[in-house]
């Protein structure tokens, strides 16, 4: 369970206060898959950082009951001194028997297509490969809360589609609570059970996408949702939706 109650976050920038998140209330029930979409600077990443406990709210509170949290950042953030396998195993070391860690890491590397690179160092990987390692590192701990900040932005279209599919399959299998932030409206529609739209630090729309997974980007229903979200975002500022409207 992840719940935001009247959460605000202000930053001091050059002597002035910038409001990144403005009185946000939202509940993300266990097992839900929510995508958050909005323009750059609308507060998406701040929302995710608050959910991960990496930023403290200036007002209100964030409640989370997750045991294991898997976070994928915009950048890979791999440990340069560890090889690929050790980076994937980073969150498991000391918490599971080595044989089990090895088995889980091998399975995860196969999933992201990097078995042959298990002994490579991050400096030897391309940006997309590094991001795949970061995704594997987050998934391997079998999180009950997954927070993903533009996780596929650095990937080529083909790998992106494969990993989007794998993430959906994993979610269907294990049902972690997933919060995925993206500025790609198509990705938000393809992956979200629910889409939350953000503008200027506020949640301004919440829409359920009642289409079965996996979704096809050329499916007229997907295209229709995508157009509707885009139209709303392009139309500009709206009043924030009431807190009760955001809750699922």
């Amino acid at each position: 369970m992840l719940e935001f109650s009247d959460v605000s976050r202000r930053y001091d920038v050059a002597g002035g206060a910038v409001v990144a998140l403005d009185n946000v209330s939202a509940a993300f029930p266990p097992g839900s898959l929510t995508t958050v979409v909005g323009r750059s600077g609308c507060g998406k990443t701040t929302l995710l950082r608050l959910a991960a406990g990496l930023t403290e709210p200036s007002g209100g509170n964030v409640q989370r009951t997750a045991e294991r949290i898997g976070v994928v950042f915009q950048d890979a953030r791999l440990m340069p001194w560890l090889d690929v396998a050790a980076n994937v195993a980073f969150g498991l070391r000391g918490r599971l028997p080595p044989a089990e860690i090895d088995a889980r890491v091998a399975a995860m590397l196969a999933l992201v297509g990097l078995e042959r690179f298990h002994a490579a160092y991050p400096a030897q990987l391309s940006g997309g490969m590094a991001q795949r390692v970061a995704i594997a590192r987050a998934l391997v701990i079998e999180p009950d809360l997954m927070l993903l900040d533009e996780p596929f932005a650095a990937l080529d279209a083909f790998t992106r589609r494969v990993l989007q599919g794998e993430l959906i399959a994993l979610w269907q299998r294990r049902r972690p609570t997933v919060l995925l932030v993206t500025h790609d409206v198509e990705e938000a529609v393809l992956m979200g059970e629910t889409i939350i739209e953000m503008e200027a630090g506020r949640l301004v729309g919440r829409h359920a996408i009642a289409l079965p997974f996996p979704r096809d980007p050329t499916d007229p229903a997907v295209v229709g949702h995508r157009r509707a979200v885009l139209d709303r975002l392009i139309a500009g500022p709206r009043f924030p939706v009431a807190a009760s409207g955001v809750k699922s």
């Binding site: 990496l54 898997g70 340069p80 001194w81």
Partner: protein, 257 residues
């Protein structure tokens, strides 16, 4: 790449020796003040055969290694404590900063009074000279740890000890290696200073003794041996680091003292 670098390294030294040899042959240099390469090689061969050189090298090497190890053993934990504790910084930083400004050789008279003229005094000088590069290297490495990596540790719920051993210290390794290489060079410089003053063995002593006997060939031989061992120890340290931390790669090259 490595071969061409080795070749150009050797070519520079060959050219220097050729100039040295040529200047002697042409009568531009005084054979007493600057003996020819042949005379220095002959002196080296004599010293080597008699076992004198081996003895002095072993004594000096033992002192450098002991002093260097002691420096690292002191500098590492102190740097960790000082980056972790504001109180430790407030108390220890001012005297350390003062000490850092004083050349170790200026402390030789005081160290002789406190520690005598035995091994402790020589170790003291080496430690004073080699402590700061390691200490400052680790500190700057810890202070510059990438906050984005710490956030990864935080979401993985690492505790303080795990953060230190699994993220902070490995992050500081490049700076530590730079500090180690500079420190090793400083150890050699300080050692000779220590052995010049009050000693009965070691390469510094060998040089002073030869100077008193007007044996410039042995003085030069001693100087060259110190340089060669310094280069060799730096190379060995570099190889050891390359083997233990292959991910460091080119960062080692920024470590020239």
């Amino acid at each position: 790449m490595r071969l061409s670098r080795t070749l150009s390294f050797a070519a520079v030294f060959a050219a220097l020796i050729a100039v040295w040899w040529g200047a002697g042959r042409a009568g531009w240099t005084n054979a007493y003040l600057l003996p020819s390469p042949a005379a220095v090689i002959a002196a080296l061969a004599d010293l080597g055969r008699s076992g004198v050189l081996g003895h002095h090298v072993a004594v000096s090497l033992g002192r450098v290694l002991a002093g260097f190890a002691l420096s690292v053993a002191l500098a590492l934990p102190l740097a960790v404590v000082m980056t972790a504790s504001r109180t430790a910084r407030a108390v220890i930083d001012p005297p350390l900063e003062l000490l850092r400004q004083i050349p170790p050789l200026a402390l030789i008279p005081l160290l002789m009074l406190w520690l005598g003229i035995g091994e402790a005094q020589k170790l003291g000088i080496i430690v004073l000279a080699s402590f700061f590069p390691v200490f400052l290297g680790v500190r700057s490495g810890i202070e510059r740890v990438d906050n984005r990596l710490l956030e990864v540790g935080k979401v993985m719920r690492l505790d303080r000890a795990e953060m230190l051993t699994r993220i902070v210290l490995p992050s500081a390794l490049p700076s530590l290696v730079v500090g180690l290489r500079i420190s090793l060079g400083y150890s050699w410089r300080a050692l000779v200073g220590a052995e010049l003053v009050a000693s009965s063995a070691g390469l510094g002593y060998m040089i002073v003794d030869a100077e008193n006997l007007a044996r410039t060939d042995i003085v030069l031989a001693g100087i060259l041996v110190i340089g060669a061992i310094g280069l060799l120890s730096d190379l060995l340290l570099k190889l050891a680091v390359q083997r233990c931390a292959p991910w460091l790669g080119d960062q080692l090259e920024t470590a020239h003292a």
